[in-house]
Amino acid sequence: MTEPERLRCRVQFDKTPAMRFTGHLDLYRALERTIRRAGLPLAYSRGFTPHPKLQLAAALPLGFTSCAEVADMWLEQGIEPAQVLTRLQDAAPPGLAFRDAAPVAPREPTLQQQVVEAAYAIDLGDPAPLDMEARVGSLLASPELRRHRRGKEYDLRPLLTSLELAAPGRLLMQLSAREGATGRPEEVLEALGLDPLSVRVERTALIFAPRASDATAT
C-alpha cells in the first residue's frame, strides 16, 4: 500500500500570557484541538492506537511565554497551504497566535532533530539587582558551572552560548536545545543568583541546524 501524499506544514506561533501555565503536553492537546476546530484534515499514524501527526519543536517550560514556537503538522490531501494559516487563526484559543504556515519537504528530519539552540529574553522586573552587569560578567568568565538537577551533576557552562544584559532589567541568553543537551534558562538565572519564579521569561527564537550538514541526525 502506498502512502497518500500528505502536506507537511510548518506553523509558527506565539504562546502568549493567557497560556503561560499550559505545559508541554497540554500545549500539544491545545494545538490538536485547534486543528480540529479549524476543520483541518490532520493525519494520523497507523496502527492499533493512531496518533495525530503533529510535532512540536522544543518543549517550553511551564510559566514561559514565547514568540517563536514551531510545529509541524501533516495534513491529508485536499487542503491549500494558504488556507491553513487563516483557519488556524480563526480557531485559535486565547494564548495561541499563529503567524505563519508554509509547506516543508516531507522527508526532512523531525523538528526536534533540527533545533539546535534556543534564545530567551528575561524581564527581571522592577527593581532589577544593581550589579547585574558584574554577575553576568563573572558567570561568562567561569570555565565551568557545576549544577545539580534531578540528582545528577552536570556542567551548564558549555550549554550557554551567549548571555548579555541588553538593558538594566532585560537579559538575553542563548542556550543549546539539542536532544539530550538542553540548557535551561532557569538554571542560568539561579546561577546568576536570581529567583526564576520572580522574572518573566520569553522564548524569542529557535535556531535550526544548517540544512546541508545535518549534524544532529541520530
Partner: protein
C-alpha cells in the same frame, strides 16, 4: 459562633488580585487551574451588569470543569444581558495556603473579583464529601460561613444538586437550596435578587421571596424539634411563605443541550463533550438515589443529540464524547442513536463513550457498532451484587448466566479487560454473598481465558453501599466498620493473581458519606468543627482526615452511630421529609418491604407501579400541554411478567 479565620480584607480590586496572582501562581502546582482565560469562557463587563453570580464547584478545578450542571447554569446566566456568571473552584491546599499567605481572597476566574463582591453564590452539592470544601470556599472568599451571620451586603448563598435532596446538614451555611433541576429555578432566584436589590428591602424579605418560588427551600424559615430519643419530632414552617414539603423542581422538557463548553488549558478529569441523552431512570434499583430523585424519564430526540455532538466538536475540538444517562440501554431509540452517531462520526478519531449499559449481549453489539475499528480498552458492567438473591433484594435482577454470556460476548468482540462494579454492605448481605463477588469475578476471567487466553483481565471495583435519602433503603442501617473490613479482607485474599485487580473504598470515607447523607440540622455544628480541625477535600484519600471528624463529633456531643447504625422505624420522621422528591413515601415504604421479601419490581417501562411522579406534576403538565413529558409508554403486555407478583398499586 464566628468563622475562625476570616482573611484580612483590605479593599483589593480585581486588578490588585490579578497583579498579586502573577507572583503567587508560578509557585503552586498546576497554576493553570487558577488563571481562567480559557477558550469559550464568558467575560462580561462587571460594572455594566446588574446581577453578578459566582458558580462554585467545591472541589478542585480538574473535577469542577468536568461538571455538566455548572456548565449549563453558567451558560443560562450569561445569556441574560443584565447578568454575569463566573466560575469558582476550591483551590488545592497549596494554593489555599498561598492565597492566605498573600492576603488574597478567592476570586471568580473570569474577572478576578473577590467572591464576597458577587450578589449570588451558587454552590453545586453533588455529593456529601465536599461539604467542608464549601466552607473553605466561603471563608477564602470573605463570606461569613453561617447564613445567620450574613448581612445586607453579603452575597446570597444558594446550593443545589443531588446531595441537596437532604439539605439539612448544610442548612447552617446555605441561605436557600434549589431542590431538583436548576435550569429555570436559578433564573427565578437571580430575578428575585435583582428585585430585592432594587427594593432596598431587608435580607429576610429576600429569603421570604425565595421561599415562594417553586422548588426552593429556605432552611431558616423552618423549625425542627426533636423527641427525647433524638429523632426529629416535628418539622414546621415558621413563615407563611415557606412550603411544606418543598416539591422538587423539574423542567417540563429538556432544553437544547449545551455545546459551547469552556475548554481547559490543563488536563482535567473528563476532557470531553458531555451530552445528556436522557434524564431520569425507569429501573428502580433500590440503592440508587439518582434513579429515584431524577424521575420522570425525559429523552432527547436522536437528531438533537447528533447535532449537539457536531456543534460541540466545532466549538471545542475535543476528541471525546460522552453520551450520558443513568441507563443508556433504556433510551428508547438507542440502536438508532448508535447507528447515526457511528455513521456520522466514523473516521474522525473520536472516542465516543456510552456508559451505563445493561448487562446483556445487545450492549456489546452497541459498543461494537460505536467503536468501529477504534481500539478497545475496557468494558464496564455493573452487576452491583454477585448472587441472584442479593440482586433481587436490591432490585437489579440479572441472572449470573446473563453476566457470563455478556462477558463472553465482550471478550469475543475484541475487548481484553472487563471492569465489574459491585457493592458490599447491601442489606442482609452475608459473607457468602461477598465470596460470590470473588467467584463471579474469577468466573468472568475464566471465560476470557478460554476465549482470548492470558490477555484477558478482570477488574473488580467494589464500593460500599450507603443508604441514601428518598430511596427504598433510606431506613436501613449501614454495615459496621468491622464487617466491612472483614468483607474487604476476604476480597483482598481472594482476588489476587494474574489478570485480577481489585479496588475498594476506605471504610472510614464511606462512614463519613453515610453520616452526612442521612444527617439532620445538628450535623452543621459537626461539619463546622471538623472543618476547623482541618477536614477538607474529604473525597480525596490523601487529604481525608478521619480523626478531625471523630474529634468534631466528640466536641459537639453528637453520636455518629445515631445517623448510620440504627434501623430507622418506618414511621420515624426523617430529616428530609421536608423535601418531596416526587416519588410517594408510601411507594418507597412498599418497595422497602418488598426487598425484605426478596420481591423485585419490573422496569416501569414494563408496568407502572404508580410511584407518584405523574400526578405530582399534573399541574406542570397542564401548563405545558404542547411539550409536556410523559412517563415512557408501558410496553404492550405481549411480554409476560415473570417472577413477580404485583399488587394493585
Amino acid at each position: 459562633m464566628a468563622p475562625n479565620s476570616t482573611p484580612a480584607q483590605p479593599p483589593l480590586t480585581a486588578a490588585d488580585i490579578e497583579l498579586r496572582l502573577h507572583r503567587l501562581l508560578p509557585r503552586v502546582q498546576k497554576p493553570g487551574r487558577y488563571t481562567g482565560g480559557e477558550l469559550n469562557q464568558v467575560v462580561k463587563d462587571w460594572d455594566a451588569t446588574r446581577l453578578r453570580a459566582a458558580l462554585v464547584f467545591p472541589d478542585v478545578y480538574d473535577l469542577g470543569m468536568s461538571n455538566l450542571g455548572i456548565a449549563i447554569l453558567y451558560d443560562i446566566l450569561n445569556r441574560q444581558p443584565d447578568m454575569l456568571a463566573e466560575r469558582v473552584y476550591t483551590p488545592w491546599p497549596d494554593m489555599e495556603a498561598g492565597l492566605r499567605a498573600a492576603g488574597l481572597p478567592l476570586y471568580g476566574l473570569e474577572t478576578k473579583h473577590p467572591l464576597h463582591a458577587f450578589d449570588l453564590i451558587g454552590v453545586s452539592l453533588p455529593y456529601e464529601t465536599l461539604y467542608t470544601n464549601v466552607l473553605t470556599v466561603l471563608d477564602l472568599g470573605g463570606v461569613p460561613l453561617l447564613a445567620a451571620e450574613r448581612g445586607q451586603r453579603d452575597p446570597l448563598v444558594i446550593g443545589g444538586g443531588h446531595a441537596a435532596f437532604n439539605p439539612e446538614p448544610m442548612s447552617d451555611f446555605i441561605d436557600a437550596f434549589v431542590i431538583g433541576e436548576g435550569e429555570e429555578a436559578l433564573l427565578e432566584i437571580a430575578r428575585a435578587v435583582l428585585d430585592w436589590k432594587a427594593s432596598g428591602g431587608p435580607r429576610p424579605a429576600l429569603l421570604r421571596s425565595l421561599a415562594e418560588l417553586r422548588g426552593v427551600y429556605v432552611p431558616s424559615l423552618y423549625r425542627v424539634t426533636y423527641a427525647p430519643d433524638g429523632t426529629p419530632d416535628r418539622i414546621e414552617a415558621s413563615d407563611p411563605a415557606a412550603r411544606l414539603p418543598v416539591l422538587k423542581r423539574i423542567v417540563p422538557r429538556l432544553p437544547p443541550p449545551l455545546t459551547r463548553f469552556v475548554v481547559p488549558y490543563v488536563d482535567v478529569t473528563h476532557n470531553r463533550i458531555p451530552v445528556e441523552i436522557q434524564r431520569g431512570c425507569t429501573r428502580g434499583c433500590r440503592f440508587c438515589q439518582a434513579g429515584m430523585i431524577t424521575r420522570p424519564v425525559r429523552e432527547r430526540p436522536v437528531a438533537e443529540i447528533v447535532d449537539a455532538i457536531e456543534q460541540g466538536l466545532a466549538h471545542t475540538g475535543y476528541e471525546e464524547v460522552g453520551l450520558l444517562s443513568l441507563s443508556s440501554s433504556d433510551y428508547g431509540e438507542i440502536l438508532e442513536l448508535v447507528r447515526q452517531v457511528s455513521a456520522r462520526f466514523a473516521g474522525r478519531h473520536l472516542n465516543i463513550n456510552l456508559p451505563s449499559l445493561r448487562i446483556e449481549s445487545f450492549s456489546v453489539e452497541l459498543m461494537d457498532l460505536l467503536h468501529g475499528e477504534a481500539s478497545r480498552s475496557g468494558f464496564t458492567l455493573a452487576p452491583e451484587a454477585a448472587t441472584e438473591r442479593m440482586r433481587e433484594i436490591i432490585n437489579k435482577p440479572v441472572s449470573t448466566e446473563q453476566v457470563l454470556t455478556t462477558a463472553r460476548e465482550i471478550y469475543r468482540r475484541g475487548w481484553h479487560s472487563i471492569k465489574l462494579y459491585f457493592m458490599i454492605g447491601h442489606p442482609s448481605e452475608t459473607l457468602e454473598d461477598v465470596q460470590a463477588i470473588a467467584d463471579l469475578s474469577k468466573a468472568v476471567l475464566a471465560e476470557g481465558r478460554v476465549l482470548i487466553g492470558p490477555r484477558a483481565s478482570v477488574h473488580a471495583g467494589v464500593s460500599t453501599f450507603i443508604p441514601k435519602p428518598h430511596t427504598p433503603f433510606q431506613w436501613v442501617p449501614c454495615d459496621t466498620l468491622e464487617s466491612i473490613r472483614a468483607k474487604q479482607s476476604l476480597l483482598k485474599r481472594q482476588l489476587r493473581g494474574p489478570g485480577l485487580k481489585l479496588s475498594w473504598t476506605q471504610p472510614e470515607e464511606t462512614q463519613l458519606e453515610a453520616w452526612l447523607s442521612r444527617g439532620d440540622r445538628r450535623l452543621g455544628a459537626v461539619i463546622l468543627e471538623a472543618w476547623r480541625r482541618g477536614a477538607h477535600f474529604d473525597a480525596w484519600q490523601e487529604h481525608f482526615n478521619h480523626a478531625a471528624w471523630m474529634q468534631a463529633f466528640a466536641a459537639t456531643g453528637i453520636d455518629p452511630a445515631f445517623y448510620t447504625h440504627r434501623e430507622r422505624p418506618i414511621d420515624e420522621t426523617l430529616p428530609w421529609d421536608v423535601i418531596d422528591a416526587g416519588v410517594r413515601k408510601s411507594f418507597l415504604t412498599e418497595d422497602y418491604l418488598w426487598s425484605l421479601q426478596g420481591r423485585t419490581r419490573l422496569d416501569c417501562r414494563e408496568r407502572c407501579f404508580a410511584c407518584g411522579i405523574l400526578p405530582k406534576f399534573a399541574a406542570l403538565r397542564r401548563e405545558h400541554p404542547s411539550e409536556a413529558w410523559e412517563c415512557p409508554e408501558v410496553r404492550s403486555p405481549a411480554r409476560p411478567v415473570v417472577a413477580v407478583s404485583v399488587e394493585a398499586p
